[in-house]
Every structure is written in C-alpha cells, then in structure tokens.
C-alpha cells in the first residue's frame, strides 16, 4: 500500500518535472527522465512502473524512435478527454486526430491505419464531434477530402493555404486589392512626378525648384504639331507608314512631351538608394492597417511582389546590394492610383479594362493584323475553305472603319 502511495507521489512529481523541462512536444528518453532526480537511486524498474501509470492515465504519450523509446507529456485537460472516452476505438480515433495536429487528418487515413470498419469509424467520429473534441476542416491542398482536426486547434497555414485563402478558397478579390495597393506604393516610391508647373516628389521630399524652372521656358522652337505616337498606341489605332517615322532618332521628339498642366512620371536617376524593398512594402502594409484580420509576413509580401514581377509590372533594381523595386515603362505609367483610375473610368467609353494596374502591352504589328488573333489561322490557305481572299476578318479590318466614316460624313 505504501508502495502505491509512493508511486502516486512519484508519478505526480515526474509529471511536473517533465512539464518543467520542456513543451508538450519535447521527447524525453529514459535517461532524461532519470536525470530529473525524481526517481530515487536511478531505479529503472521503478521508473518504468511510474511511466506505465502515467501512460495509462494518458498523461504521458509513448513514442518509438530510432534511438529507442521516449515519451512526452500531455496536459491534464487533454488527458481527461482521453480518459472520459467510453471505449478504446473512440480513443484510438481521437489519438490519431490528436497526432495529426494542425494539419488535420483525412478520415480515410484513419480508417486504413486502424483497419476499422467504415460504420464503426463513422460512429466514433460522430461521437467525438458531438462531444466537441474534434471538428471537420477544409484543406486547400485536398479540397475534396473530408478532414478532421482537434477542435481547439487552428488549422495550419499549410492546410488553410496561408493568408491568401478564405475558407479554403483562394481569395482573388483580396489578392487583387492588395496587389493594387502594393503596385501603387511601388509606383509612387520609384518614380518622380513632374507636374506642369510646380513639382512634388512624393516620398522623397518635395524638391520642385528645378522642375518649375524648366517648365517656364519650353523649347518652342522644336515643338512639332504631331501627336506623340504613344497616344496612338494607347488608342489602339493603326499607324500609317508616315507616322511610324515620327519616332525617329533624329526628330527633336523629347521636347514634345512638355505639355504644361499634365502630371507625368519620370524615372529617378541611376543609383537612387530608396527604391522600396520588400520589407519597406511589408512595413507600409502593416502600418496602413489594410489587413486587419490577417498578418502578412515578409514572405507573403515577397510572393505578391513576385507575381507583380511575373506580370511584368515591376522590376528589381539592385543598388549596393539592396534589392528594391520599381515600376516598368515609367513614362507610360498613369500617375493616378489604380483606384482613381477605376473611378475615372467611364465604362460607356470603349473596351473592357481587365486591370487598372500598369500599362497596356505595347502594340506589336503582328497582333494588329487580323491574322495575329485569327481563330482559324492554322487552316487558312489560298484554295482552302478559309483563305485570305475570302477572309472576313480582313474585310472587317479594311472596310470596317470606312463604313463608320461614311456614317460620319452623312
């Protein structure tokens, strides 16, 4: 009897000692436990007795590793859940869900591992769910699998897919919104806004003196009456051969752009030290408090910036080993923010705008011609069912605008 009391005391002492020595993830070997100086005289037999009782009470969990047996402790609360379970099957199922941790476990895995009948397993799960011990969850990697997780755990990032997922679905609206914000931030920080007249330098401290001066005396002598071809491109109109020549090297083109009153983005000088880095962007996002209920790590932001890079919207610039980002094709960028552009956009005027970020791709001759986008290009051949001589796309392309013209002239 005394023995049993003694063991009871030792048991509690060992449990507390183990708790003091590490988290519930730490594995203790036999040696570790003996070294805690709880068991008198390094009595292995006694230790094993104590451990056995702890395991029976679910306070210790045994583990077999390559180096032999080891144990970790489990909280009393959790242990109580185990001991309250009515039978061993339910206990085994619960153990498996418990083991799986924050990643959750597929019900088929439970069934196969325990070699259990379907109905029995279902019964166990139902019992555990009703008790509120486990809950079903969604895993983005396997959206069609029925997964379970311990009810008091939050699913891991791997299971939820990280901050980009909401309830197992990729939250594209959220991503897009955030991308626009990041893009606007990079755009603002990596360019210089030249206003017609005064100039402000967002982010780098307003230094408008130089700009102001040069706007006052535009080089009238070289201003030509031609439209800069950039506008042609943005309108998507075809250019004639004559117009092509306008973007020539020798033409005094540079001065043409100095139209007063229109803000325009300019590149910053080489060696600019403050192109925003990923951590700058992360800080900005954090302080702006845009993402209240999700915290975004730098890695998450990097992912976002990478996508912008793949989209050809931003490019990395390395200055002294510091990798910052700037927007591409700066002179073509719209100085307005994405949101502003969306507000200003008049849907009745012209085509579908898929994105308010960045610039339209530069027009290429091939894509302007009907064949560039032709759905039957592969079959088209003189003498075939579709051929240039009976081509409707070309007819529309050549005659289409004439029809319009006639309407106008009437």
């Amino acid at each position: 009897m005394a023995d049993r009391d003694k063991i009871q005391i030792l048991k509690d002492a060992l449990y507390e000692a183990a708790r003091d020595h590490g988290s519930d993830q730490r594995l203790f070997t036999q040696r570790d436990l003996l070294d805690m100086q709880v068991i008198p005289q390094d009595n292995i037999g006694l230790l094993m007795q104590v451990i056995q009782i702890l395991c029976d009470e679910k306070l210790f969990v045994g583990n077999t590793t390559a180096s032999g047996l080891s144990w970790r402790w489990r909280s009393r609360e959790d242990a109580k859940k185990y001991t309250s379970l009515p039978n061993s099957e339910i206990m085994m199922v619960y153990a498996m869900v418990d083991e799986a941790g924050a990643d959750g476990i597929w019900n088929r895995t439970i069934k196969n591992k325990l070699n259990m009948a379907d109905s029995l397993m279902k019964h166990c799960i139902k019992y555990l769910e009703q008790k509120g011990y486990i809950a079903s969850m969604k895993n983005v990697e396997h959206p069609n699998k029925k997964m379970y997780i311990k009810a008091n755990l939050r699913p891991s990032d791997r299971a939820t897919g990280g901050p980009w997922f909401t309830e197992g679905e990729l939250d594209t609206a959220f991503i897009n919104e955030l991308q626009e914000i990041v893009f606007d931030f990079i755009k603002q920080k990596s360019t210089y806004t030249s206003h017609g007249g005064g100039a402000g330098v967002p982010g780098v401290g307003a230094q408008g003196g130089g700009a102001q001066q040069r706007e006052k005396n535009p080089k009238k002598g070289v201003v030509q009456g031609t439209i800069p071809h950039s506008e042609d491109i943005s309108k998507g109109t075809k250019r004639s051969a004559g117009e092509i020549s306008n973007d020539d090297t020798a033409a005094p083109a540079p001065a043409k752009k100095t139209r007063p009153g229109k803000p325009q983005l300019l590149p910053l000088p080489a060696g600019y030290k403050s192109y925003p880095t990923v951590s700058d962007i992360a800080k900005f996002i954090h302080h702006a408090g845009i993402t209240n209920n999700t915290t975004l790590s730098e890695a998450d932001i990097q992912q976002l910036v990478d996508v912008l890079y793949y989209d050809g919207l931003v490019e990395p610039v390395k200055v002294n080993g510091r990798k910052g980002y700037r927007v591409t094709r700066i002179p073509k960028q719209d100085p307005r923010t994405c949101n502003q552009r969306r507000l200003d956009h008049d849907p009745t005027k012209g085509g579908i705008v898929t994105s308010f970020m960045g610039v339209e791709p530069s027009a290429s001759g091939l894509m302007e011609a009907p064949c560039g986008r032709c759905p039957v290009y592969d079959m088209c051949e003189e003498g075939g069912p579709v051929s240039p001589s009976n081509c409707v796309y070309f007819r529309r392309w050549l005659d289409g605008d004439e029809v319009q013209e006639q309407v106008i002239s009437i």
Binding site: S194, G209, V222, A255, G312, E315, P331, S364, L366
Partner: protein, 624 residues
C-alpha cells in the same frame, strides 16, 4: 540554307508585287527546286527560255540571285538570295531612315538605287544630269512651276554618295557579290588548301591554322565591297570635313565642301548594303524601346550614342566563321561622353526626363559602377534578376556612405549640373537595371552589348505578344515557367496566386496556341497515365520560330488580300493609269470611281504599313 515555306512564299509575293509576274514565277521555281540552270528553270516553270532570261535579268539587276558556273557542264546556275528578297519589305523604312540622317538628297539617291538596282556610278550621274538639265532648261517650265530637285548638281550628288558610302549604306559590287556564302566558303577553302596545305591537314594545330586562314580569306572577300569606303578614308576627306561641319549633317554638306570630296570612280557599280541598313534600323528600334521604358530625352541621348557606336559596325550578327576569333569587345567599340556630347543638338534640354532628387538619396558609387567586361553568356532566362554581382556588394556600401556624407554638406539639395553631367545622368540611367541598354565600361566610356541586349528585347517582344494573346495572367504563368523551369500544377498555382480552375483554363488555352507545353512523367514503370505527374514548361526558342513563321504568313496574307482587292478594282485602276487621268484623278474620274480608287489606295497604304509593322517584330526576332 533551308528556307521556311512561309518565307519563300513571302519573298515570291514581294517580287511579284514589285517586279511583276514573270520574275516572280522564275523566283518561285528557284525556291522550290534550289539551284537551277536556265534550261531547267524553263522546264520546271513552263516558261520559254527567253522569258526565263528576261526574268532572271530583272532579278539579277536587283541582286536577288546568286549564280555560279557549274564546272562540269559550263552552264550558269542560279539560286535565290532570299535575304535580299525579303529586305524589299524594308525599303520604306530604310528610306525614312536615310531621309532623317542624310536629308532628302540622300533619300532621293537611295530611292533611285532601290528602283534601279545595282548601278554604275557613271550611269547614275548621267541620269541625274539629264534631270538637272531638264529642270534648268527654263523654256520647258514657262507655265508650270519648276519642280524642286533634291539633287541640284553633280558635285552634290558626288558628295551625297560619298556620305552614304562612308556610312556603308552603299557598297560596291565585286566579283564575288553574286556567289552565295556557301560557294564563297567552298572556294576559300579550296584556295587555302592549295596554297598552305597541299599535303593535307594533320593534327589539331594545323586544323586551327586552317580555320584561321579560311576566316582571313573570307574576311578579305567581305572587305572587297568596302573598297570605295577605304579609298575615301585614305583621302582623309571624312575627318577634314567633320571638323568643318559639326551638327550640320542633316542638311547635306554646304556648297564649298562638296569640292573637298574626291570624285568617285565612275566605273564602279554600287548597290544598297542592306546589312548596314539593318544595323541602322536596329538602332532606331532600340531608341523606341528606350522611349517607352525610360523616356524620350533619354531615348534621344541613346540614339546619339548608338550613332557613334555603330559607325564601324557593319552587321548585326557576327558571322560564326569569320568573327569567331575576334572577341565581342573588339567588334563593338566604345564611345566617350564627350564624343556623344559633341553630337547632341543644342536645342535639347537634357535636364528633362529624369526626376530631380537631392543628391544624398543617390548612391554615387553604385550609379558610377564600372563593368569593364562584357557579360558572359548566361543560360537565358534563368534567374536573371539575381545577377552575379552579389559578392562585391559589401565593399561598395561602406565607401558609399562615406562619399555620401561628404557630399551632403557641400551640395545644395538639387545641384545645378553642368551639361556634360546632365548627359551622364541619362547614360548612367541607361546603364542601370535590367535590359542593359548601355554598359559603363570605363571612366566616361560607354558601350553596348548587343547580343544579350537583343536577347532581352526579344523576350520583351514575346512577352508583349503573349500578354496580348493570353492576357496578363497568361504572361504571368509563362514568365514563371521561364524563370523556374518545369513545374507541376501545384507549384505553379502557389507561385501564381491563381485559382485552380482559372489556372487550368489559361494553361490549356496557352497550350493550344503553342506558348506552353506539357510533359508526362510516369510515377512508376507501369506508366499509368492516371497516376502520372504532368509538368508544364515553355520552350522559348520554339515560340520564337513559330512567331517568325506566323509573321511571314501574315505578310503573305496581306499581300494576297491586296492582290484580291487589286483584281476587284481592276477597271478603276487601269483608268487611273491613263496618262490623261494620272495626277488629276479627282477631276477626271466619276465620283463613284474615284471613291473606289481612293479606297483602294487607302487599303494599299494600310496593308503596306501593316507589313512594315509586322516586319518590326520579325526583324527583332530574327535579324537584329
């Protein structure tokens, strides 16, 4: 020398368009059958020998043929010079370019050379003389207004020709001009063998020597077309004149200077040198890119830099045989800031186009960093953004801080820069960052590594075509594959942040157009397709070649559509050709006819312009 079908078709139609049906038929036959004698051409094309000869004559005149004499039969055999034939589509652009750099007089001469084909200088002079006489004969112009001539005197003509020859835009016909590169190579091989290796080549050393000698021989042949240029250089004319006429080039040389030019040997036969023209066109294209990415002032500066730099660059792509032994650095020279400054028009305000920020936010050392060596050939597209300069970075940042703090005290936030410094700002901006427009190769020395630069721009062009075809998300996926290599769907999804359904749909769509491909990797040796892993990848080279084919095909379609329209409006067009109608179409024709005529002209212009635009893409993809 395989020519893709689309190109052959395109060249034939171009010949048809410009020189008529007969030469085109001969040309088509040559494309189909390769090297042929007159007899065989006539047999295959069902044309009479006389007709064939007529056709060949026209083609020969315009340098569209190679010929060689077969040693056995003694018959001349002809084959196509398809590069030249294709260049016909570029004539418009070339004329524009010459007009801009050499003024209307240069353009006029070039245009005549284009129309006449290769021409003896004396003939050209005579033709111009006749025209000049006609205009100067006052009696003939009593009623009409005297037309303004681009070339007003023989001396001016001579001077213009000298300029064009110096620029290599015109070169000289020599004995080997009409031999294909392959023939010439064979011949040089034979000669080298006969002279130096009569006992055969033994050992690797001899082999290397042999290759060198062949390269030398080939180079000599290539140089032969530059005889006139060399003669001019010996005369010292160019440098003398340059001193006198800085910044005056576009107006043609002023009167007194024309006399400084040596008279050209009237017996020489000259032609347009397309190789060099393409170099000029490439420069124009590069400037366009800079205009788009950095701004027009910087673009202008870049244009001036390229003008200086390409003076001695004769061709865009170095010949693998001849130039293999000369490293790239030697091929591409460098220019100094001052050389560029001398050419920048005084009306250009160089302070425009770059943001103004206090100098303390700029790292001088990073901006001014020199890169003396050309980049090594890297595996294209793999991790381009992480360039190899990481190691050095540490050293730089230290010294940098020092410099910056020193600067801070003295300088006003935005210092007024001297003009050379303003110019350097643009050059430094060009040197920084991704496409590598310029390399800062020495203190105030600048050069351009054309090969990697063009490779980057090719990718940019492909990107913009992908974006126009498959949207931004398509572009995103392709660029991921290009940087990361082959990827499974899961990985692709997490990198692209796209929804699975969207991703699958986009990828399938792009597989159909040939931008993306799949590879099946079986999980075990049973190769059960249900269990296989599918990897996505993109093949950029293949994408280029299919785009090139598409460009040619589209041009063919343009020409065919044009022909159809011409047939449709045949009656009106022939009416417009009548001498009493010509020039006064609007008054002479009935309204309805005139409307049709005008519409046809408009369509023709549109189609031709479109072809030139397509050529922009094509040239970038394969020629620059």
């Amino acid at each position: 020398m395989a020519v893709i079908k689309e190109k052959a078709e395109c060249c034939t139609l171009l010949v048809d368009e410009l020189y008529g049906q007969l030469p085109a038929r001969v040309y088509a036959t040559l494309f189909q059958r390769g090297k042929l004698s007159v007899r065989l051409i006539s047999q295959f094309s069902k044309l009479s020998a006389r007709q064939v000869k007529n056709g060949l004559c026209v083609l020969q005149q315009h340098n569209l043929l190679f010929y060689s004499v077969d040693a056995n039969s003694g018959e001349a055999e002809y084959s196509v010079n398809h590069e030249y034939a294709y260049n016909l589509v570029r004539t418009g652009k070339i004329l524009e370019m010459v007009d801009n750099s050499y003024g209307p007089a240069g353009r006029d001469v070039m245009q005549n050379l284009l129309l006449l084909g290769q021409t003896r200088i004396s003939d050209l002079v005579a033709a111009y003389q006749a025209k000049i006489n006609e205009v100067n004969n006052d009696d003939a112009w009593l009623n009409d207004k005297k037309p303004e001539l681009a070339i007003k005197s023989k001396a001016q003509l001579n001077s213009v020709l000298c300029r064009l020859i110096e620029a290599e835009l015109i070169d000289v016909i020599h004995s080997k001009t009409f031999q294909s590169a392959h023939e010439i190579e064979k011949q040089v091989h034979r000669e080298v063998m006969d002279v130096y290796f009569s006992n055969g080549i033994k050992g690797t050393k001899a082999k290397i020597e042999f290759e060198q000698r062949v390269a030398e021989g080939l180079r000599k042949v290539r140089e032969e077309s530059k005889t006139l240029k060399r003669k001019l250089a010996q005369n010292g004319g160019a440098s003398k004149r340059r001193k006198l006429a800085v910044g005056n080039e576009t107006n043609g040389a002023p009167e007194e200077e024309e006399d400084l030019d040596p008279a050209l040997d009237p017996r020489q036969v000259i032609r347009i040198n397309y190789e060099k023209c393409i170099v000029e066109l490439r420069s124009r294209r590069l400037v366009q890119y800079v205009n788009e990415t950095l701004g027009e002032t910087t673009g202008y500066v870049y244009g001036q830099l390229l003008k200086q730099l390409t003076k001695n660059i004769s061709r865009c792509k170095s010949d693998p045989l001849i130039d293999a032994l000369t490293p790239e650095e030697k091929v591409t020279p460098s220019v100094t800031t001052n050389e560029i400054l001398d050419k920048v028009k005084t009306s250009i305000d160089l302070t425009l186009g770059i943001g103004k920020i206090p100098s303390k936010s700029i790292s001088k050392s990073a901006a001014e960093r020199l890169t003396p060596l050309a980049p090594k050939d890297k595996i294209p597209f793999m991790n381009q953004d992480d360039s190899d300069d990481d190691e050095e970075d540490g050293d730089y940042s230290d010294s940098d801080e020092e410099m910056d703090t020193k600067k801070e005290n003295g300088d006003a936030p935005v210092a007024r820069m001297s003009r050379p410094e303003q110019l350097r700002q643009h050059l430094l901006l060009l040197a920084e960052g991704h496409p590598g427009f310029v390399r800062h190769c020495g203190e105030d020395e600048w050069t351009v590594d054309f090969k990697p630069l063009m490779e980057n721009l090719r990718a940019t062009e492909l990107d913009s075509i992908i974006e126009q075809t498959s949207g931004r998300q398509g572009l995103r996926l392709i660029r991921i594959l290009r940087t990361k290599g082959k990827l499974g769907e899961q990985a692709l999804q997490s990198l692209s942040l796209m929804r699975k359904v969207d991703l699958q749909q986009k990828m399938l769509e792009m597989r159909l157009v040939g931008f993306a491909h799949t590879q099946e990797v079986p999980r075990d040796n049973k190769a059960d397709p249900k269990k296989s892993i599918f990897l996505w990848y993109c093949d950029t080279e293949q994408a280029y070649s299919s785009l090139i084919a598409k460009c040619y095909a589209t041009m063919v379609h343009c020409l065919q559509v044009l022909e159809v329209r011409r047939q449709k409006d045949k009656d009106v067009l022939s009416l417009a050709k009548r001498t009493n109608v010509k020039g006064k179409e609007k008054d002479m024709m009935r309204d309805e006819s005139y409307a049709r005529f005008a519409k046809f002209l408009k369509d023709e212009r549109l189609l031709m312009a479109e072809m030139m635009r397509i050529d922009d893409t094509l040239a970038l993809l394969q020629d620059y």
